[in-house]
Symmetry: C2
Subunit: 254 residues, 2 copies
């Protein structure tokens, strides 16, 4: 696989929600505590998490279409939280403002998949690594600080002033890195994200995350194009990009 | 000192050139190699470094005044390099383009002051730490990756779209961090930077760097206002912000 990527690869940029961290179980955990604390026994935390997430793409579409100026994801998450509470018949005014604010920060406290920190640490030794997420800088920063995600810089929608999959999100990130798009590889568990990155000239790596949307996930179970690399997780990606190093390790292990 | 800063301090943002890294000796080192390699024996590397740096503030003034759209520092450094070469009677066309490009990247390869990495690592345990430098993201990223500066994120002029000491550079950084300015402390070896940060409502910490401009430095030898903290270096800053922790250490050492 490495030969296809070539020696001129300088940076890996990562989708984060679903690719690096398990957003669904994290949000379920936070919604569960919130519901318990406020006596909201009728809330199914998984259904609540899925509903909250379902507003994610439509809310960014308002910005991507130009109907709304760039607005960071924390603000969109908060608006989407209020819509979700309404669907679950919870009046926003019945919950303390500080508790709602804390619940909205659930997205800052998501756990990485078990392979993410170790895999990123290996990749960082050879490449620039940075998120290219729609999450805002403070969100990515809090998440990284809590779990030790070893980013070299926090890039993404807020830095680029554009949400994925708009081309500007990818192209401005390449410009900030002072690299040509084909010196950068987009890493994501989502075929649509990779398709958009490829249209901008970036290399592509697909990570299979088959439970991002829970045990009955039906989308993104497999690569849908001939991505440059396909990996089962972040450690597998590191191995596929560093085959010589890994052969050495294999010899040592024997 | 900590009581003046208060318990609500969440983030420290740092000037970098002079405060965290020793730009002058780094540029002198790179200019020396360049001059040796290209047979430019007439160049005094220290005079060259000082001349190159002397164009720094005027070149940003063009952007700060609005006469020029935001242009990242790598581009300004390159323009200033060509002016400096002209002053030293070196024709740009007489030097290979790749060598000029490499020399311009001297600013990406500056060494931290000896206390910087250890001090920042201590501060990172308690606060968000990020550069608030006029250096662009890729410059700060390369510098951090080379020397292990443990930033939580790379903020600064390019992220804010404005050069210090314009108020936007400080205020947009606070907005990105989702903090009030008084929850942030600006750390710098330059009185003028701290004065601008204070006017925006930030806390201030002065680090004494008396050889940034060489052995005969005449400016910024001492604090010129009652900054919230005054420290001799980054380790001293960590100690002044974490007095209880340090008392414990002191007891252990006894």
């Amino acid at each position: 696989m490495t030969e296809e990527i070539g020696p001129d690869l300088h940076a890996l940029v990562f989708d984060v929600f679903g690719t690096v961290v398990d957003w669904r179980n994290g949000v379920i955990r936070e919604v569960s505590s919130f519901a318990r604390e406020h006596g909201l026994n009728g809330i199914d935390p998984a259904a609540f998490a899925d509903m909250w997430r379902s507003h994610y793409v439509p809310s960014m579409l308002e910005v991507r279409s130009g109907r709304r100026p760039f607005t960071r994801l924390d603000v969109l998450h908060r608006e989407n939280l209020e819509k979700t509470l309404a669907t679950f018949d919870v009046s926003v005014s019945s919950v303390p403002a500080a508790a709602l604010h804390e619940l909205n920060l659930a997205w800052h406290r998501l756990d990485p998949w078990p392979d993410s920190v170790a895999g990123l640490t290996q990749l960082k030794a050879r490449y620039i690594i940075a998120p290219l997420s729609n999450g805002n800088i403070r969100l990515m920063l809090d998440m990284a600080k809590r779990s030790g995600l070893p980013w070299d810089a926090i890039l993404g929608a807020e830095t680029a002033g554009a949400y994925k999959p708009s081309p500007e999100a990818y192209l401005r990130t390449a410009e900030i890195l002072d690299l040509q798009p084909d010196q950068i590889c987009m890493v994501a568990a989502h075929n649509s994200d990779l398709a958009a990155a490829r249209r901008c000239g970036m290399r592509t790596a697909f990570i299979t995350r088959t439970t991002e949307h829970g045990p009955t996930q039906t989308t993104d179970l497999a690569p849908e194009e001939n991505w440059d690399v396909v990996a089962t997780d972040m450690l597998d990606l590191a191995q596929k990009l560093h085959p010589i190093q890994d052969q050495t390790t294999a010899v040592k292990v024997k």
